[in-house]
Every structure is written in C-alpha cells, then in structure tokens.
C-alpha cells in the first residue's frame, strides 16, 4: 500500500511538471505578452518594462528561472495587478472556490443518491420518467445558460414575494452560496443520478440481496446497509474528476454570481496574458487535481476490500 502511494505521488509530480511546461510553452507561443494593449507604447518604455519584468531574457532562461522559483513556492507577482503576489491571490481566492465546490459536491451527492434511489425504486413509473427527463435536461444544457436562468428566476421570485428570499449575487453568508452551489453541482448531480440508478438496479438482482430478503431483513436495512454501500463504488470513480471539474469549472458561476473565486482570475489571466498568474493558477489546479485523483484511488481500496492496492 505504501509503495503504491509513493508511486502514485511520483507520477503525480511528473504530471505537474509536464503541465507547467506545456502551459509555459503554450503561453509564449500565443501572440502578445502582458504589455500588449490597445494603446501603443513608446519603444524605450516597452524595453524598459520588459527588462524590469525579466521578459527580455531568452525563453529557455525564463523557463529555468520560473521552475527554480516554483520549487521554492514563489509564483511571482501579477503583471496586471502590480501589487499582488500570485501566492496571495491563490491563498485569498481559492478557499472561496473550494467552499463553493464542496457545497456543490455535497448537493450533487445528496441529490444523486436521492434521485437515483427514487428512480430505481419507482422504475418505469412516473417519478422515474420525470426525474430522468430532468436529468437529461441538466446534462445537456450548458452551465452558463443554467446560471443565467437561475439568477433571472431568483430576481423574478424575489419580485413576486416582495422580499429578498435569497441574494442573487455576491458572497459572504450561507444564503449567498446556496443557488450558485446548486447550479454548479447540477450537471454532476444529474450524472450521479443516472449512475446511481443503474448501479442500484444491477445490485438489486444480486444473490446477496435475495439472501437478505429471504432472511427477512427490512427494506430500509437492505437499502442502506447492503445496496447503497456497493452502489457507491462507481460513484467514487466519478467523484475524483467531478471534484476537480466543479472546482475549476466554477468560472461561469463565479462570473454570473459575482463570487470572488480563483476561477475568475484563472480565465482573466489568460485573456490578459498575465504570465505569472497563468502559471501559478495552472500549476496549482494541476496539483489539486492530481491530489484528488490519488486520494480517490486510496479511498477505493478502503471502501472495497476486494481491491488490493499494489504497485505495478
């Protein structure tokens, strides 16, 4: 088990290095740089600034310097927000995205189990049809449409009620988080519902369930103790990447609901070619994703004793 974990970590580090290098290369291949703007700069001014930022050095040297700093945990200072260190940006804004993401996962999981169980229980009856219809809708409709629609719906509902039931944007209290988290988790919730449904239906046919019924166990006990635990396994496979997708894919939700998360910085940095922020956020997200995948793998082994984790 230890050897397995170590091997996964080493592969993880290699992955992160690859991500950093690929991003650095892509960034420098795109026309433009942090200084390009809609207003021309006098040549001496531009040279002066390029020198100050270290952008006048050959690209390979810049790469070497960057890697060296990264190993020391120093991602540099933003080119656009000249007073902010990238580490500070990540430290201040990631917790917001993470909170939003965790709440989204929570809703997705809760919803996935609930709706999945309902559709399996009432298979081929109207709850099944209604829920599966909504599931297909949730998977097909793009995130930005759902977000915009949800916000508009909130405005309308608030207007009808004459009171602000829930804030339509902003961050700070639990009430601010509910709708954005729901919107963010909706796609994953729909996916998990489907997964749960097929998982439960498959297990319902298994021999040990027939045995449990024959032994006279209650329906509730059969469901919670026997069916659910086994149905969770495919769930866990999806959960690792889902966590990462939700945490990184929060950009649209953060934009529409005016949430000060890291996703917004991530995308804005690319638009503005803010090299240091691009590298910092990409490496950070890459590391986060690698960590999640490794954790899920280890969790797998714990949940299902049939799986023995070993290297090779």
């Amino acid at each position: 088990m230890i050897r397995y974990a170590v091997q996964r970590i080493v592969f993880g580090l290699l992955t992160i290095w690859f991500v950093a290098t690929a991003t650095f290369a892509a960034m420098h291949m795109v026309p433009g740089d942090p200084l390009s703007n809609d207003r021309a700069m006098a040549p001496e001014m531009r040279e002066n600034l390029m020198r100050q930022y270290g952008l006048d050095k050959p690209v390979l040297r810049q790469y070497g310097i960057y890697l060296g700093n990264m190993l020391r945990g120093d991602f540099g200072i933003s080119y656009i927000e000249e007073n902010r260190r990238v580490n500070d940006i990540i430290r201040e804004h990631f917790p917001v995205s993470a909170t939003l993401g965790v709440l989204a996962i929570f809703f997705a999981t809760l919803g996935g189990i609930l709706w999945g169980a309902l559709t399996a229980r009432y298979q081929q009856r109207w709850p099944d049809f209604v829920i599966m219809g909504l599931v297909i809708l949730s998977i097909s409709v793009p995130g930005f449409v759902v977000a915009a629609f949800a916000q508009l719906a909130l405005v309308t509902i608030n207007g009808w009620v004459g009171a602000e039931l829930l804030p339509i944007a902003g961050w700070g209290t639990l009430r601010h988080m509910l709708v954005p988290a729901l919107v963010l988790g909706l796609g994953t919730m729909a996916f998990l519902t489907r997964l749960m449904r097929s998982s439960l239906l498959e297990i319902a046919q298994a021999d040990y369930i027939t045995t449990a019924k024959a032994k006279g166990l209650s329906a509730a006990r059969i469901f919670f103790v026997h069916q659910l635990r086994n149905a969770c396994l495919p769930f866990l496979t999806v959960l690792g990447p889902a966590i990462a997708t939700i945490t990184t894919g929060g950009f649209v939700v953060e934009l529409v609901f005016s949430i000060p998360g890291l996703g917004r910085y991530f995308v804005q940095a690319i638009q503005q070619l803010d090299y240091t922020v691009i590298m910092g956020t990409t490496v950070f997200y890459g590391s986060f994703l690698v960590l999640m995948v490794v954790l899920v793998d280890l969790l797998y082994g714990w949940v299902d004793p049939r799986i023995k984790l070993h290297a090779g």
Binding site: N48, E164, S258
Partner: protein, 537 residues
C-alpha cells in the same frame, strides 16, 4: 427523526428566510448610502500607474487634482482656487484649506513630486506620455534629463508654476486627470512598493476615503472628514459589494434593488429593460469606431481607387441604425466625434465634414480603375481583422456581405480576442482593421494626431507629409482660429485619402435608481461622478 422536530426545523428555516424584507440596499436614503457594482478589480490605485476606467472612477472620488469637472462638465477649481494662463506657462494658486486624510495640508510640493514621479523612467509608468505638454517631459521619459528638470515648480507652498513645451490651450483641463493628482512624498517613500496596495497604504485628499478594500471582492468608500468641501458632499457612503464583468448579471442586480446604477447594458438586454419600464438612459462616451486601412508595402489597400471604392459603398448611417442599433449611437462622419468643441460652437458646426455620398456606380468605376492600376484581373481576398465581441462580429459580417454584394470583393474575417487583435494590428497583419479610439484629453488633437506618421497608434501606417504638417500646426499654435483651420484641413485630407472608414460613435446605455439624483456622466474626469449627487424619496 421525530416528526415535530422536522416541522420545527422547517418553520425556523421559513422564518429566517422570510425575515429578510426588501432592504432596498441599492439606495439607502436614510443613511445617504448607495451600493454599486464594478466591472473588475482595480489593477492599481497608484495615480502614476493607473489609467483604466475603474481605477479612474475610484480615484476621482478618493483624491483631487488642481481642477475637476463641474455640473455642466466644465472645468472648475478644485485643489487650485484660480489660475493664470499665458502662452507657455500656467500659474496655479492653491487653496490653503485643502488637507490630506492625516490632517496635513495639500501643498504645491505634492504636485511637483507626483508629476516628476510620473515621468521618471524608474517609475516605468505606461501613462507618462500624458505629461508631454509639460516642458522637458519627453526628454526625461527618454532618460536624457533628470526628473527634477520637469517644467513644474513650487514657487511657494501654495503656488505652482507650470512651463509648457508649446502653447497648449487645453492643458488646464488635463490637470483634472488622476495622473496629475498630488502625492505626498514622505508617505510615498515610507510605503515604498506597498504604496496604494491597500486602503491603509493610501492618503486621500478627495471627497471620500477608502475604508475597506477586500481584493477581488468589495470596496467601501466613506465621506472624508478632512475634505475642504465636505459640507457640499451629500452622499455619505458608497459600497461596492459586487465585482463582475457580466452586464446581464449587473442588470439583474439593479432589478433586484441591490445596486443604484447599472452601466453598459448589452444590446440583448434592451427590450427586456424597456418592457419592465426601467429608467433607461444613454450617454455618448466620446469613443469612435472605424475601419483603418493598411498602407504598408505589399498591401492592396495602398491603392487609392480601391479605398475610395470602399468608402463609396460603406454607409455609416445605415450601419449605425441597422447593425449597431443601440439607442443613442451616432453615425461617425469624420475623424472627429460629435462632442468636440471649436472656438465658440461645436467643432462639427465650425468645420462641417463633407462625407462622400454613397454611390454604387462611382464605386464600381473606381474598382475598375484600381484593377487597371494594379494590373490584376481579380482582387485577392481582403483580410478584415476584428474582435470577438458580438457587436463587432455582427458589423464584420455585414461588411463582408456589403463588399461582396456591391463590389464582388471577397472578405475574410479574422476574429481575434483583445490582446491578439491588437498585436496583429500593430504588426500590420490585416487589410482592413476594425478599431476604436477614445480621447485622452479634451481637444481635437487627441484624434487628429492618431494618423500622424510618427504615432505608434497609427496601425495602418498612413503617412502623408501634408497631414503631418497640419498636425504640427495644431500642436504648436496657441491661436484657436489657426488650430480650427488645421483641424478642418486634417479632416478633409483623411476623407480625400480614404485612410479610414468611420463607422459609429458608441452610446453607453445605463439605468439609474430614481431616488439617486445628480449623478454625472462624463467623457473625462472619472465616470460616473457622485460629487454632486444626492438621494431623495
């Protein structure tokens, strides 16, 4: 879980939800407070480093220059009580009761220090160019002279003398810009790299002070108790709890009564806003949108007959009304937008532009002439460089259709995001480029010198010695009649050479809470301004 527990929890939830009644927090008349949204986190609140719209908006409320824009968008005294302008010098007499937010007086030395810091190459400010009218500024920026030789000095604590490089009639109006605001030398030196990084790293001499700045999330402005004119500032507090660049989300915040003002409505939101009866207003922001043609060697647009053919079919009025279709947008008819003033009337009245009439027959004849001159049978496809913003894409597609229909020309649309479009335009990778230009200062020269051959912003590399000469006349003369005449010539030359195809002057649509009065929109001097605003039921 026992049933009554469930009911109790549900009840408590409902109560907690229902208890939040509609606090119309966009406008709080009782506390004289308004809430706003801004489009993005201000990159820098250091007056010598920033010039973007959000930073300018904040800085004009937090600090103050020698002058400011008044209720009719005219220049009025601010930190300066009065001034005396000669041909090449201006003397400002500062008021003696202006204070910084630490109680110390605002003096002429603060202005000298700020202006020298702006042009100092060590500061590496991208906006140093704005100081060019001041004597020696250009040489200092090049590193040829020390910052101390800038043509500004404090004759005493409250008298500032400015020497100009050339007669610059519009110079006083420039002192209203944040780049010309004062900075306290001792504070600046003491804070070093952290100057203006946070609310506690700034000193304020304006109507408001920044009491809270949560980066990327929110800002809070409160009335500055040290401000000399505080009894005339009627807004007590400005909260900025939302930072989003999504204009639909901003409009939703306005509809939900969370903010007092929503700016820059998208075209798609207009019908919804009208249906709801929202108080829609419009504002011409002074920016010009046009097509710039490429004069570089090897480019087919170097041919004058071709350019004139394009000019003869491109109808700016139709484009503005049918394609852009934003209420308030104006067709662009010349190099100069509508708002510019001449000697006594608007510039447009004093030097009326004579836009060429749309004439399909003439256009086709010109095209034939171009073919003969270029000795080609068919024109190769022309590359039209444009941005990925929906309105720009729509305009590009219309232009493609128009030139194909009318002239049989093939247009290839090159859609690029912001930075890439500008890099390509500077590198000349286009035949026709969709560009815009916003005024740097309140004088026609800011548009006139765009096409000067030495101007790096001249992406098409248009070069005409006669044009350059007239630009120099406008730059060097202090006589209004001479300058207006020069602008007239420049306008004529650009149209005759068909160096650009003017499209439209954008109108910004916005909504304002009916309880908020006196909010000012301005092309210059921080927009919007709440200096003269107040709240009433």
């Amino acid at each position: 879980m026992p049933r009554n527990h469930l009911f109790q929890i549900a009840g408590a939830l409902l109560l907690s939800v229902g208890a939040h009644s509609f606090a119309a927090s966009g406008v709080d008349v009782a506390n004289s407070k308004i809430s706003l949204a801004i489009r993005y986190e201000p990159p820098s609140l250091n007056t010598v480093k920033s010039s973007d719209r959000v930073s300018s908006f904040l800085l004009t409320h937090l600090m103050e220059g020698l002058t400011r824009y008044g209720t009719n968008n005219e220049i009025v005294p601010a930190a300066a009580l009065r001034w005396r302008q000669r041909d090449r010098s201006v003397i400002f007499y500062l008021r003696k009761n202006a204070e910084w937010s630490d109680g110390k007086p605002v003096t002429a030395h603060d202005f000298v220090f700020a202006w020298q810091t702006l042009v100092d190459p060590a500061t590496a400010s991208k906006y140093a160019f704005i100081m060019q009218p001041v004597k020696n500024a250009a040489a200092i920026a090049r590193g040829a002279l020390a910052p101390q030789s800038l043509g500004v000095q404090a004759l005493d604590d409250f008298t500032l003398k400015v020497e100009l490089q050339a007669p610059t009639p519009y110079f006083v109006s420039m002192t209203a810009f944040p780049a010309f605001y004062p900075i306290r030398k001792d504070f600046y030196r003491e804070r070093g790299a952290r100057y203006a990084a946070d609310a506690k790293d700034m000193l304020f001499n304006g109507p408001f002070e920044l009491t809270e700045w949560v980066h990327g999330a929110s800002l809070k402005l409160r009335k500055n108790p040290y401000y000399w004119n505080k009894k005339n500032i009627r807004i007590g507090a400005i909260d900025i709890p939302y930072i989003t660049s999504d204009s639909v989300a901003t409009l939703n915040l306005f509809k939900n009564n969370n903010i007092a003002f929503a700016n820059d409505l998208a075209q798609e939101s207009i019908s919804d806003a009208l249906q709801r009866g929202l108080p829609l207003r419009k504002f011409l922001d002074g920016c010009m949108y046009f097509y710039s043609l490429n004069f570089r060697a090897g480019r087919i647009t170097r041919n004058k007959a071709l350019r004139q053919a394009l000019q003869s079919v491109y109808d700016a009025t139709l484009v503005t009304n049918k394609i852009i279709a934003m209420p308030g947008a104006q067709p662009a008819v010349s190099l100069f937008p509508k708002f510019l003033r001449g000697k006594t009337r608007s510039l447009r009245e004093e030097i009326p532009p004579q836009p060429k009439a749309i004439d399909l027959g003439r256009a086709r004849r010109l095209l034939q002439q171009a073919k003969q001159e270029l000795q080609i049978e068919q024109f190769p496809p022309l590359v039209l460089l444009t941005s990925d913003v929906p309105v720009a894409v729509k305009l590009a597609e219309y232009t493609q259709y128009l030139f194909k229909q009318a002239l049989g020309l093939n247009i290839v649309i090159d859609k690029q995001t912001f930075k890439q479009r500008h890099v390509k335009s500077y590198n000349g990778e286009f035949d026709i480029a969709s560009l815009s230009w916003c005024p740097d200062y309140n004088d026609p020269l800011t548009f006139a010198d765009y096409f000067a051959s030495w101007n790096e912003n001249n992406r098409g590399k248009y070069s005409n010695p006669e044009y350059d000469n007239w630009v120099r006349v406008a730059q060097r003369s202090g006589d209004i009649d001479t300058r207006v005449q020069a602008f007239g010539q420049l306008q004529r030359i650009i149209a005759a050479d068909a160096a650009m195809l003017p499209s439209y002057e954008a109108s910004v649509l916005y909504v304002q809470h009916p309880h908020l009065k006196g909010m000012q929109r301005g092309i210059f001097g921080g927009d919007p301004s709440f200096y003269f605003a107040w709240l009433e039921q």
